[in-house]
């Protein structure tokens, strides 16, 4: 039988954008092919979100053991096996990658192994074979940004990938870039006793977060012994035999040299738009990202782009959402709503950070009159019972309309709590709807309610 290389939809890239889009297409009965040159699940599943969460769980457990005596539990002679920690992280990633494989099979998706390249409208070449489809979705993701030649040498200068599979724990680490990835690694290594220094070129760590959150997290990390240098720019990193030599310029303009065992460079990512055949089609680009309409369609009809290649925020759940939205649009343009995408962001450091909407600073820049509520977790019963009441919830409303425009949280499991705000924002709840919502007791989520109430001077427990 001659293999039919004609599809309703071809998706290039099997990350959280691509594989999710493929499953949705399968549900709708579209004949779909998914092209992947590496592992199913992409960076997120194999080298990003998931394995790092497995690592951070290990550091969290280590931390809990270290404070167990506060709970009346004595743990004598605790130790850890570095290799087993790394192995578990890999097993978790493998398990999920297999899960994706199963789901794709269940939804009758043809998975094609190889690098997919566009070759004119509706045409994709993989391993010298031509595949055609009336619709193509580009979901090729992104890679660490190459700035000043600070690229991984796989030995002493690490990207996120090397940072999650080292043979042994380094004595000291320089983390360059204090975004979510940098702060998560800083938190992880610090909990295992590595001496961690973080440098950030901007004023604050987690520079996309609300300033109150950034300041709070910095304070906590410094209490844990992490050295943080903001307004500091990296000049050079030189990889020596088994250490690095770093030179950076401090806020006052002075230059400093320091030696560390390793360096993790996490200074942003860039879209994978090169060498995928974009020159064969008419696709509008801007600042290294692909421009699409609200449904993911590029300037070339029938060619869609989702996830990291379409620009910030570079988050898995944004890619998944855009993927599903694009497939729904391909299937039936009339059924898709032109809704706003409100993307929450999470950082799984200790303490955790989660946020959605705009910051107080941004609201001020936009000239929006605001009402702000802040509720500290030391007023929350569950957090106190957990023994982790470090944190707070900050809620920002538009003063005129009562529109919920931003929420920022720091503390235990806040990454699980942010969805409450996501639903409220998507449904366009006002403060009154949140007042009227019953939050279960005792939960940390009650702090959301209290924070909302506080914005209108109605909080109960402060």
């Amino acid at each position: 039988m001659v293999k039919d290389n004609t599809y309703d939809l071809i998706i290039i890239g099997s990350g959280p954008g691509g594989y999710v889009a493929a499953i949705r297409a399968g549900q709708l009965g579209l004949k779909t092919a998914l092209i992947e040159e590496s592992q199913l699940g992409g960076v997120c599943l194999n080298w990003g979100c998931i394995p790092t969460k497995a690592l951070l769980r290990a550091s969290e457990i280590k931390h809990l053991i270290s404070v167990s005596k506060d709970f009346g539990i004595k743990v004598d002679n605790s130790s850890y096996d570095w290799k087993l920690i790394i192995d578990r992280s890999r097993e978790v990633a493998d398990k999920l990658s297999k899960g994706v494989k199963y789901l794709l099979k269940k939804n009758k998706i043809d998975v094609i192994n190889g690098r997919g390249k566009i070759s004119g409208v509706g045409r994709v070449i993989v391993n010298d074979n031509l595949y055609t489809a009336s619709n193509i979705i580009l979901a090729t993701g992104a890679r660490p940004k190459n700035v000043n030649g600070l690229l991984s040498d796989s030995k002493n200068i690490w990207s996120y990938k090397e940072a999650m599979i080292p043979d042994k724990k380094p004595e000291s680490i320089l983390v360059v870039g204090a975004g979510a990835i940098g702060i998560e690694f800083a938190s992880f290594y610090s909990d295992f006793g590595t001496e961690v220094t973080v440098i950030e070129v901007q004023n604050h760590i987690l520079p996309n977060e609300d300033i109150d959150i950034s300041v709070f997290v910095r304070d906590k990390l410094e209490q844990e012994g992490i050295k943080i240098l903001t307004n500091t720019k990296i000049k050079t990193i030189t990889s020596l035999k088994d250490k690095i030599d770093a030179e950076f310029i401090m806020q006052d303009g002075t230059s400093h040299k320091e030696k560390y065992s390793k360096s993790i460079v996490s200074i942003g990512i860039e879209a994978n738009i090169k060498n995928i055949g974009l020159e064969t089609v008419d696709v509008k680009q801007e600042n290294g990202r692909i421009i699409t309409n609200h449904f993911g369609e590029t300037s070339e009809k029938g060619l869609f782009a989702i996830g990291d290649i379409t620009g910030a925020p570079w988050l898995a759940h944004k890619a998944s959402h855009e993927g599903i939205n694009a497939v729904n649009y391909i299937f039936n343009p009339k059924e898709v709503t032109n809704h706003k995408k409100i993307i929450p962001g999470c950082t799984y450091s200790r303490p955790q950070v989660a946020s959605i909407g705009i910051t107080e600073k941004k609201a001020n820049e936009l000239g929006v009159k605001v009402k702000i509520g802040v509720f500290p977790l030391h007023g929350n019963g569950k957090a106190i019972a957990l023994g982790d009441s470090n944190g707070f919830v900050k809620t920002i409303f538009n003063k005129d309309s009562g529109e919920l425009i931003g929420a920022h949280m720091v503390g235990p499991e806040v990454t699980e709590l942010i969805s409450t705000y996501a639903i409220a924002m998507q449904l366009e709840a006002t403060e009154m709807d949140l007042f009227n919502t019953v939050f279960p007791h005792p939960t940390v989520s009650e702090a959301i309610h209290e924070s909302v109430l506080d914005a209108y001077d109605r909080a109960i427990h402060i």
Binding site: T337, H339, S401, G402, L427, E428, A429, T430, M432
Partner: protein, 441 residues
């Protein structure tokens, strides 16, 4: 059994309706509760909801068809076991519907029962059956074909609009009617972005108007406008109007009103208009020759004094009726009027609120109009046009005095009342409004 769907009578005054839009196509499955079509009545656009299950077999009028008679067959719902013949039977039966209705109405005197039959008479050969009916078994024989929930919900004119809480609040703050907004959210839900769009469009309109003329706007006339147009055209064409005007010194009225209102809560205060209603009613009672209607072969002199009062609403006007106004005291009249104004603005006036009425009052005083000529509201024979109250110099006992003057103008149907009768009515009215104490007697 195949089920006929008829143009429903959504209000007692409704004789025909427009088919605004079909919400189902031929061949679509219809489940109980599904909206089949939207019908425009003289008051609002209503949805026809099905209580039956079946497949929409036939549509007899296209979207936008106007002037479809009440109880005309508009569509047929086919059940599982129906044959071509069943459908044909309905079509045939419907040809005689007009006669059927007449027969039915003649047979049964009870008004409610008639409307019940008119609503439900849709079974083939209903004519014969109804001829044999007595009141008791009407309901049994006509086993609920397509009942229109819209009929029961006519009193509830505000159709539910899906909108986010935020969108609702923004609309409220900016005084925007959500009915004017098209929702882009799931299932047409109105979200903030839709209001933003609406604002932007309006801003663009304003901005553009500085540079160029606005385009003419073509707006389809509502049924309410059509009815106003039709009735007033007939009135002006057929009724030989004559006009009498009179100046009333309302100094005493203003004093009395102040005196009365001193003791009343804000929401109970009596308005000048309430005095006018009472004065007109009392005058009509005292001059019964003016309380009548022309009917070619006979004149009807009304046994009660029911006064229609015009209330302007967006897109038209309503004339709710104060019944037996001559027997009501000012406070009762005032309370009823306040109630009517609220209902009228909410589009919630019931047919019984505005049906009937022997004589009308139209008051444009609050707009600063000195005097005007109103058009008679048939089948009535008169309407009093009330102007604003303003201070004017008048001569009393050879002295010039400044008094509060209100000019009222009567429009009369000369077929029914002559100038002298009209003059007596106005004189009576003037006597009462200038000395409100007389109204109490």
């Amino acid at each position: 059994m195949a089920i006929p769907i008829l143009m429903p009578a959504l209000s007692p005054t409704m004789t025909e309706g427009s088919l605004a839009k079909w919400c189902k196509n031929v061949g679509d499955e219809v489940k109980p509760g599904d909206i089949i079509a939207e019908v425009e009545t003289d008051k609002a656009t209503m949805e026809i909801e099905s209580v039956d299950e079946g497949v929409l077999e036939k549509i007899l009028f296209n979207d936008g068809t106007e002037g479809i008679g009440v109880n005309s067959l508009i569509a047929i719902l086919k059940s599982k076991n129906d044959t071509e013949q069943d459908i044909k039977d309905i079509l045939d039966a419907h040809d005689s519907t007009d006669n059927t209705m007449e027969t039915a109405i003649n047979e049964v005197n009870d008004k409610e029962e008639v409307s019940e039959i008119v609503k439900k008479a849709s079974v083939p050969n209903v004519k014969n059956k109804i001829n044999q009916l007595n009141d008791a078994n009407v309901k049994e024989i006509i086993d609920n074909p397509v009942v229109n929930n819209a009929i029961s919900s006519i009193n509830n004119l505000d159709v539910k609009i899906a909108a986010s809480p935020l969108a609702k609040r923004i609309a409220l703050h900016n005084n925007i009617d959500l009915k004017n907004i098209i929702g882009s959210g799931p299932r047409g839900r109105i979200v903030k972005a839709d209001l933003d769009n609406y604002f932007n469009k309006n801003i663009n309109l304003i901005n553009n108007s500085n540079f160029k003329n606005k385009d003419n706007i073509r707006k389809k006339t509502s049924l309410m406008r059509k009815i106003i147009a039709e009735r007033l055209s007939i009135s002006k064409k057929e009724i030989p109007h004559f006009y009498l005007s009179i100046d009333c010194n309302v100094d005493n009225l203003i004093k009395s009103r102040e005196e009365i209102n001193k003791t009343l809560n804000k929401e109970l205060k009596i308005s000048v208009n309430d005095f006018i209603i009472k004065a007109v009613a009392t005058a009509l009672f005292n001059v019964p020759e003016a309380n009548c209607t022309w009917g070619n072969d006979e004149m009807i002199f009304f046994g009660s004094v029911d006064v229609s009062v015009a209330i302007a609403v967006e897109g038209g006007l309503f004339t709710p009726v104060i019944k037996n106004a001559n027997y009501l005291n000012l406070r009762n009249i005032s309370a009823q009027m306040k109630d009517y104004v609220i209902k009228a603005n909410a589009g919630k006036l019931l047919p019984e609120d505005y049906e009937g009425g022997n004589f009308s009052i139209s008051n444009l005083g609050m707009y600063g109009i000195d005097r005007f000529s109103a058009i008679i509201n048939p089948p009535q024979s008169g309407i009093l046009a009330v102007g604003s109250i303003s201070k004017k110099p008048i001569v009393i006992d050879n002295e010039v005095k400044i008094c509060n003057i209100m000019t009222c103008q009567l429009s009369g149907d000369h077929r029914a009342i002559d100038g002298a009768v009209g003059a007596r009515l106005l004189k009576e009215f003037k006597g009462l409004i200038e000395n409100p104490v007389k109204m109490i007697v």
